[in-house]
Chain length 181, copies 2
Amino acid sequence: MAEPTRRPGGRSERVRAAVHQAVMDLVVERGYGMFTVGDVAARAGVADTSIYRRWGTLEDLTADVALTWLTTNSPIPDTGSLDGDLRAYASGVARDIGGPAGLAILRLVIALPKEGEARDQFLAERGKQLQTMLDRARTRGEHPPDALEVLDHILAPLYIRTLFGTGPLTPEYVDALVDRL
Amino acid sequence: MAEPTRRPGGRSERVRAAVHQAVMDLVVERGYGMFTVGDVAARAGVADTSIYRRWGTLEDLTADVALTWLTTNSPIPDTGSLDGDLRAYASGVARDIGGPAGLAILRLVIALPKEGEARDQFLAERGKQLQTMLDRARTRGEHPPDALEVLDHILAPLYIRTLFGTGPLTPEYVDALVDRL
């Protein structure tokens, strides 16, 4: 993970952290679309204008929150084998989206407008992380699936079960998805 | 499909159809959470009070819209073989959720509160339809997958690709999902 470019401890960074946390809390409590910039500002203890100046729209702000969460969670493993990497990656994703923050992020990404850049950016980032892992396997002489197969048969079942609330993502279930792929 | 219990040209049925259409339009245009009962009433040309009296909350109304759409779309096929049924079912789902109404319904179901009954009802209905098809295959002596495997490896990829906007659901893609299962 890259270090934050702003000095940790600085006022700007504190505001950013407070605003991000406020968005996460509101998404978890009320759902995306059920709060305004004013609600975020009130909860974070900052002025509405600070948010508008820094992030533009509520949509840009929520996209920033989703991207930040993504790049600091579910890091791409490097265990030395494709099998080990896929298992570690799948169980990391299951753990992260199993919590309330993960469900909120998923809902948030899905609610982003189809035309906006935010979702494309999120998916490009996720895709790039995954591709790095699969390319490493190919370099070792292994035969990795393509990134879309990982999306369809590992990430999609985890995401849909989380979104629909159908059953917990147990380690056995996650391993079975990897075995099948 | 069951016939509507209300007389089709009756006023009650006309109101119901207009209100349902207004909800679908608003979900497609603005997204779930971005409109009120007042917006629905204005668009459907009915009084707010008619909606509150008949459906209770906005949430109950949207759940009714989702359930109705589900039970009148993607009917369960009966082709005489498991393979034929799965292909017909998967391509029906791909066609239905590929349109703007399908995406709106998916988003709507996902946005329903975890604690509410509405989503459980939606999932139970979908699960029952699927189970009927798989039971029929078992009766014929075939070896069907269980309903959760169909959810994980056919419905989940179709849903996630639709929600994330990653690529069209071509007939070849849908067939490949069935082949793999």
